[in-house]
C-alpha cells in the first residue's frame, strides 16, 4: 500500500515544481553542507521505497526467526516441495529479467519493444501468482492443509505473505503500465525505476523463502 502512495507522490512531483509550490527552489541539492545531492539521498522517492523494503525485510526476518525456533521442535516433519514451485520460480525470475529488458528498450527510445517487454513482465508476474495458488491446490489435494503440521503452516503463511506483497506489486504494475500507455512517462528517463526496485526485491525475496523453506 505505501508503495503505491510513494509512486503517486513521484508522479506528483513534477506538477508541483511546475505549479505554485516553490519547493524545488530552495535547498537546492548539491549545496555543500546541505542534504546529499547525489545518489540515493538526492532521490527521496527511491530512498522511501528502499526504506520500505527494509521494513518488509524485517518482517520476513521475524518470520524466519520464528521458523528456525519452530523447526527445532520434535514434531517437525519436512514437507516435499510441490514441483510446480520450480516453474513458478522460473516465471518470477523471468519476469524480473523481462522488466530489465523493458527498461533498457525504454531508455533507448524503443517504445514498441518496451511496451511488449512490460506486458511480458506483467504476464509472468500474474503467472507466478496463479502458479502459487496451484501449489496450494496441489498440497491440499495431498491432504496437507494450513494446520496439518508446522512446516505446512509456515509454507502457507510465508507464501501467502509473499503473495500479498506480489499482488500489491501487480497493482502498482497496473498503474505503471497504464501510464506507459498514456505516454505520461518520458522515454529516456525510465519511469519504471521505483517499480523495478520493488519487483526485483520480491523476486529475490522469493528465492530466499524457497531456500529457507526447502533447501536449508
Amino acid at each position: 500500500m505505501p508503495a503505491e502512495a510513494l509512486e503517486d507522490r513521484a508522479k506528483e512531483t513534477p506538477t508541483h515544481s511546475g505549479g505554485g509550490r516553490p519547493e524545488s527552489r530552495c535547498g537546492a541539492p548539491g549545496g555543500d553542507p546541505g542534504p546529499g545531492g547525489t545518489g540515493i539521498l538526492g532521490d527521496p522517492a527511491l530512498f522511501g521505497v528502499c526504506a520500505f523494503l527494509g521494513t518488509v525485510t524485517m518482517l520476513f526476518v521475524g518470520m524466519t526467526s520464528a521458523y528456525m525456533v519452530r523447526r527445532a521442535s520434535a514434531d517437525w516433519r519436512p514437507l516435499a516441495p510441490p514441483a510446480i514451485l520450480w516453474l513458478n520460480t522460473g516465471a518470477l525470475l523471468a519476469s524480473s529479467a523481462a522488466l530489465e529488458v523493458a527498461r533498457r528498450r525504454f531508455r533507448g527510445w524503443d517504445l514498441p519493444a518496451a511496451r511488449t517487454w512490460v506486458a511480458v513482465t506483467g504476464l509472468l508476474g500474474a503467472l507466478f501468482v496463479a502458479g502459487q495458488y496451484g501449489a496450494w491446490r496441489a498440497l491440499a489435494a495431498q491432504g496437507i492443509f494450513l494446520a496439518s503440521n508446522p512446516h505446512s503452516s509456515f509454507f502457507y503463511v510465508l507464501t501467502g505473505l509473499h503473495g500479498l506483497h506480489l499482488l500489491g506489486g501487480l497493482a502498482w504494475f497496473a498503474a505503471v503500465a497504464s501510464r506507459l500507455r498514456r505516454m505520461t512517462l518520458t522515454p529516456g528517463e525510465d519511469g519504471l525505476r521505483l517499480f523495478a526496485v520493488y519487483w526485483h526485491f520480491l523476486a529475490g525475496l522469493w528465492v530466499y523463502l524457497l531456500l529457507v523453506l526447502f533447501v536449508l
Binding site: A5, G20, C26, A51
Partner: protein
C-alpha cells in the same frame, strides 16, 4: 520576488474546510490531528487507570454510580475481575501505542520535522495523510473492542499466548483479542508510513546548510525513532499474524500439546491433541524484540524536546552535542539487544539471560551521559522559568529516578524477586511513561505558537505542572516499596477480605495512598485540557519567535502558513544552540544568521 512566491504558496493551499483541516496533506494539520487524537485517547486511557486504582485501593467498596454508568463492568456496584483485566490490558495498550508513541512521534514529529530541517512539507504528503487515516480506524477498532462479545482483550498489553490464543482462557480472548490484533496492525501500518516519511524527509530534504551536525537534537531523536520503528514493528506484525492463525485457523505456532482448559483437555474428535509442538516463548521473543525498541520510541523524542527546551530557557548551548547524539545512537542500537531482560524468569536459557543482562547494564551508560550533559547545560546558565522548562526539568528528574531503578532490574539475579511486581510498574511509569508524558507537555507549551499561533496560559501551565509533578511521584514512587515487598502486578485484590495473600495485607494502606494520589493526578489533567482548548482559541496571539529561540522553526510565522516560509526557505549557517554568544548583539543567534561568531558557525 519573495512576495510572489508567498502568494503562490498561499494560493496553492486548499481552501475548503474539509481539504484544509480534515483530509489535509499539510504536515502541520496532520501533526495536530495526530496530537489531538492521541490526547483524547490519553483521556480515555487515563480514566481506565483511575478505575484500576479504585479497584486496587478499595477492593471491597461498592460504586453504585459507576455501576450504572458501566453496567457491563460492574455487578451490584462491584467491579468484576474480567472488567479489571480489560482495564489494565487496554490502559497499557492505548497508552503505549495510541498515546505515547503517537503524541510525541506522529504528533510533534509531523509538526516539527519540516520546520526544523527547513522544507515545505514532508517527503510524501499523501502517504502522510494516509498514515493518519489509517491510525484513526485503529483507534476506533481498539475502543470498539469494549463493546463486543465478552468485552475487550484481557490478556495484558503484552498478550502472552496461550492466554491470548485460547478463546476460553479469559473472557476478552474472544472477539476482543481479535480486534486488539487488528487494531495493532492498523496502528503499525500507520506508524510505518509515518516512519518512511520521517526518515526520508530528515535524510533527503533539508535546507541549504542544514548538515546533520546542525540538526536540533529533537530531529536526531525523530530520525532514530523512525529507524527503530521501521526495524522493530515488523517483528510484532509477524507475531500478530502467527497469533491470528493460532487463534482462528488451528495452527500451532505458540500452542503446545497437552493443554487442559478448566479440566477439559483440548483434543480433536479422534483423540489427538488440538495443538502440538508450539512454543509460548516464541511470542515473547517476537513481542519484546519490538517491545524494547518501542520503549525508546516513546522516550527518545522526549529526550530531544528536553534538550531543545533546556538550551532555549537556560540561554546556553546544549552541553556535549556530539555525545548527546552518540548517546542516542548507542541507546537506539543497544535497544535491539536487550529485549531478553523482560524474560529473565520466563524459562529462557539462562546463558541468554546473561548476555541480555550485559547489554542492559551497558545501556545505562549512554543514559547516564545524557543526564550529566543536561546538568552541565544547566550549570552556569540563566534559567528563565517559563512553563516548558519546568516540564523539561521534570523529564530530567524522572529520567534519573526511573533510570536508577533500572539498575536494580537489569541485574538478572535481583530481578528474580522484583519481576512482575509493582517495582516494575513503578520503574516503567517513571522512566518510560513519565518521561514521555512530561516531554509531551513540555513540547506542547513550547511549540504551541507553531501549532496554533497562540500562547498557552503560564499560570495554568505552572499549576498543572506542580500538581502533576507531585502527584506523579506520590503515585508511582511508593510502588517501588510494595514491589520490593512482593506485591504482584495485575492482581484484582491484594489484602483481605477479597484478596487472598497475608503478606500483601499490610501493604493495603500504601495502595490507598497511591490511589488517592492517582486521583489527584488524574484530576490535575483537567487543568491541561482547560488551558489547551482555551489557549488554542482565545490565547494571546504569538509572535514569530516568542521565546527568543535560535532554531530554524522560529523564523516562520506563528502559525506557519501552507509551505511554512512565506518566501524562500532560509539558508542555515550554524547549529540551533547559539545562546549567549560573546560579542553577539542579542543573547541568541538564529540558525539563519551568517555572522561568523560562535563556535559552530561557518562551514562545518
Amino acid at each position: 520576488m519573495a512576495h510572489a512566491e508567498a502568494h503562490a504558496a498561499e494560493a496553492h493551499a486548499p481552501q475548503a474546510f474539509i481539504w484544509k483541516y480534515v483530509f489535509s496533506k499539510d504536515h502541520k494539520v496532520i501533526g495536530v490531528q495526530y496530537y489531538v487524537t492521541a490526547m483524547l485517547m490519553a483521556l480515555i486511557a487515563g480514566l481506565l487507570a483511575m478505575l484500576i486504582r479504585l479497584q486496587v485501593g478499595f477492593p471491597e467498596a461498592t460504586w453504585p454510580t459507576l455501576g450504572k454508568l458501566l453496567p457491563r463492568g460492574f455487578s451490584d456496584g462491584i467491579m468484576s475481575p474480567e472488567f479489571y483485566a480489560m482495564l489494565f490490558t487496554m490502559h497499557g495498550t492505548i497508552m503505549v501505542f495510541f498515546v505515547l508513541s503517537t503524541a510525541p512521534v506522529s504528533g510533534f514529529g509531523n509538526v516539527l520535522i519540516p520546520l526544523q530541517v527547513g522544507w515545505r512539507d514532508m517527503a510524501f504528503p499523501f502517504l502522510n495523510a494516509l498514515s493518519y487515516w489509517t491510525f484513526l480506524p485503529g483507534c476506533i477498532i481498539i475502543l470498539a473492542s469494549f463493546f463486543v462479545g465478552a468485552g475487550a482483550a484481557a490478556g495484558g498489553w503484552t498478550s502472552y499466548p496461550p492466554l491470548s490464543a485460547l478463546q476460553g482462557a479469559v473472557p476478552g480472548s474472544g472477539t476482543g483479542q481479535t480486534l486488539w490484533i487488528v487494531g495493532m496492525v492498523f496502528f503499525i501500518a500507520s506508524f510505518t508510513m509515518g516512519g518512511l516519511n520521517f526518515l526520508t524527509t530528515i535524510l533527503n530534504l533539508r535546507t541549504k546548510g542544514m548538515s546533520l551536525t546542525r540538526l536540533p537534537l529533537t530531529m536526531w531523536a525523530m530520525l532514530l525513532v523512525a529507524v527503530l520503528g521501521l526495524l522493530s514493528f515488523p517483528s510484532l506484525v509477524a507475531g500478530c499474524i502467527l497469533l491470528l492463525f493460532d487463534r482462528h485457523f488451528g495452527t500451532s505456532f505458540y500452542l503446545p500439546s497437552g493443554l487442559i482448559l478448566t479440566n477439559v483437555p483440548l483434543l480433536n474428535p479422534d483423540g489427538t491433541p488440538l495443538h502440538a509442538g508450539g512454543s509460548p516463548l516464541l511470542w515473547q521473543h517476537l513481542f519484546w524484540f519490538l517491545g524494547h525498541p518501542e520503549v525508546y520510541i516513546l522516550m527518545l523524542p522526549a529526550l530531544g524536546f528536553t534538550s531543545d527546551i533546556l538550551s532555549t530557557f537556560c540561554r546556553k548551548p546544549i552541553f556535549g552535542y556530539k555525545s548527546m547524539v552518540g548517546a542516542m545512537v548507542s541507546i537506539g542500537a543497544l535497544s535491539f539487544l536487550v529485549w531478553g531482560h523482560h524474560m529473565f524468569v520466563s524459562g529462557m536459557n539462562p546463558y541468554l539471560g546473561m548476555a541480555f543482562a550485559v547489554f542492559t547494564m551497558l545501556i545505562a551508560v549512554p543514559s547516564a551521559v545524557k543526564v550529566f550533559n543536561w546538568l552541565a547545560t544547566l550549570w552556569g546558565s540563566r534559567i528563565q522559568y517559563r512553563t516548558p522548562v519546568f516540564w523539561a526539568l521534570g523529564v530530567v528528574s524522572l529520567f534519573i529516578s526511573g533510570g536508577l531503578s533500572g539498575i536494580w532490574l537489569g541485574q538478572s539475579a535481583v530481578d528474580i524477586p522484583l519481576h512482575d511486581t509493582y517495582f516494575v510498574v513503578a520503574h516503567f511509569h517513571l522512566i518510560m511513561a513519565g518521561a514521555a508524558l512530561f516531554g509531551v507537555f513540555g513540547a506542547t507549551a513550547y511549540w504551541f505558537p507553531k501549532m496554533f499561533g497562540r500562547m498557552m496560559n503560564e499560570t495554568l501551565g505552572k499549576a498543572h505542572f506542580w500538581f502533576t509533578f507531585v502527584a506523579y511521584y506520590c503515585t508511582f514512587f511508593p510502588m517501588h516499596y510494595i514491589g520490593i515487598a512482593g506485591h504482584m502486578r495485575r492482581i484484582y485484590a491484594s489484602g483481605r477480605p477479597i484478596g487472598y495473600y497475608e503478606f500483601l495485607e499490610p501493604l493495603q494502606e500504601i495502595n490507598v495512598f497511591i490511589t488517592r494520589s492517582a486521583l489527584v493526578l488524574g484530576a490535575s489533567q483537567l487543568l491541561f485540557f482547560v488551558n489547551f482548548f482555551w489557549s488554542a482559541f482565545k490565547g494571546p496571539k504569538a509572535s514569530e519567535n516568542p521565546w527568543n529561540a535560535a532554531g530554524l522553526e522560529w523564523t516562520t510565522p506563528s502559525p506557519p502558513g501552507h509551505g511554512n516560509w512565506p518566501g524562500e526557505i532560509p539558508e542555515v549557517h550554524r547549529w540551533p544552540y547559539d545562546y549567549s554568544v560573546p560579542d553577539a548583539p542579542k543573547d541568541f543567534v538564529p540558525q539563519t544568521d551568517p555572522a561568523p561568531i560562535g563556535a559552530r558557525a561557518g562551514g562545518h
